[in-house]
């Protein structure tokens, strides 16, 4: 018979083996200690996520700077501003030539650079949102009051 299991003890009563179940009384503070350990783990995961999103926000801003400079140069070198000015200065005439002005605006738009800039802006905003969300949330797994 195993002597290490405290819940079960073999006893001999009247020379007949009897299996007795002895109830276990756990530490009354074990529940609180369990809750504290779980909360601590959740907090550590939350902090790791905040740092990760902060780093991604920083990287996206750092990458956005040269892309934004390139985008401004591309817009300055293109004829987009001149074509767009026609839309505001000669609206009635432009309406009758809407196909030509639309094609001119589409051709002169620096699409690739603009798409890269928009992707980086979206990445920065998403990282910022996630960072604020995880830093503002205090995850409590369990509490005695619940």
């Amino acid at each position: 018979m195993h002597q290490k299991t405290p819940a079960f003890r073999s006893m001999y009563m009247d020379k007949k083996p009897v299996l007795a179940i002895i109830p276990i009384t756990p530490d009354p503070r074990i529940l609180e200690r369990l809750f504290a350990a779980l909360n601590k783990r959740k907090q550590a995961e939350r902090l790791w996520r905040v740092r990760l999103f902060a780093m991604s926000a920083f990287v996206s801003v750092a990458a956005l700077i040269p892309v934004a400079i390139s985008l401004m140069k591309a817009f300055a070198a293109s004829n987009f501003d001149a074509y767009m000015s026609l839309v505001f200065s000669d609206r009635s005439v432009i309406i009758s030539s809407w196909k030509e002005i639309t094609a001119s605006l589409a051709e002169s738009l620096p699409a690739l650079t603009l798409a890269a800039a928009l992707v980086l802006i979206a990445a920065f905003l998403w990282s910022l949102r996630s960072m604020v969300r995880f830093s503002a949330t205090r995850i409590v797994v369990f509490s005695r009051a619940v």
Binding site: N79, A82, Y83, E100, A111
Partner: protein, 143 residues
């Protein structure tokens, strides 16, 4: 699973968003393909194939080099020379005034939009004379 539950499920939303995204992607690709073909065709016929970028096919902004009506040669901002054709339907304006084709002179700074033809010329529908730009933004005419 009930039908109403399916339409409100997360899977259905993902499928719907994926379809919409794919449609937008294909539409953008198709538009880009169409515009790229027009620009490449314009550059090919005009003999100004560049490695970096094709010039605009439906408009030009720059300084007037020569005026040989109905053709006007313009030095675009990207350095290419383009020819625009002024026809009876072409509207020419300076500030609030409407001009005649003979009012355009060499050295004027204009913006023109129109339709490209097979000879890589732009049949202008509208021309506006602009104030001369600053020195930093002045077009570099090809030599």
């Amino acid at each position: 699973m009930k039908t109403s539950d399916f339409f409100q499920s997360h899977t259905f939303k993902i499928v719907l968003i994926s379809i919409v995204g794919l449609v937008l992607l294909l539409a953008g690709f198709s538009i880009g393909e169409h515009i790229g073909f027009r620009k490449a065709s314009f550059a090919f016929h005009g003999g100004v194939m560049q490695a970096e970028n094709f010039s605009d096919a439906h408009g030009t902004v720059g300084k007037v080099l020569t005026v040989t009506l109905p053709a006007v040669t313009i030095a675009d901002r990207d350095g290419t020379e383009k020819t625009i054709l002024i026809g009876p339907q072409t509207i020419i304006r300076r500030m609030r005034d409407t001009l005649a084709s003979t009012d355009i002179q060499a050295g004027d700074y204009i913006v023109a939009i129109g339709d490209p033809n097979a000879q890589s010329q732009i049949a202008a529908r509208f021309i506006r004379e602009l104030p001369p730009p600053s020195v930093s933004t002045a077009p570099q005419a090809s030599q």
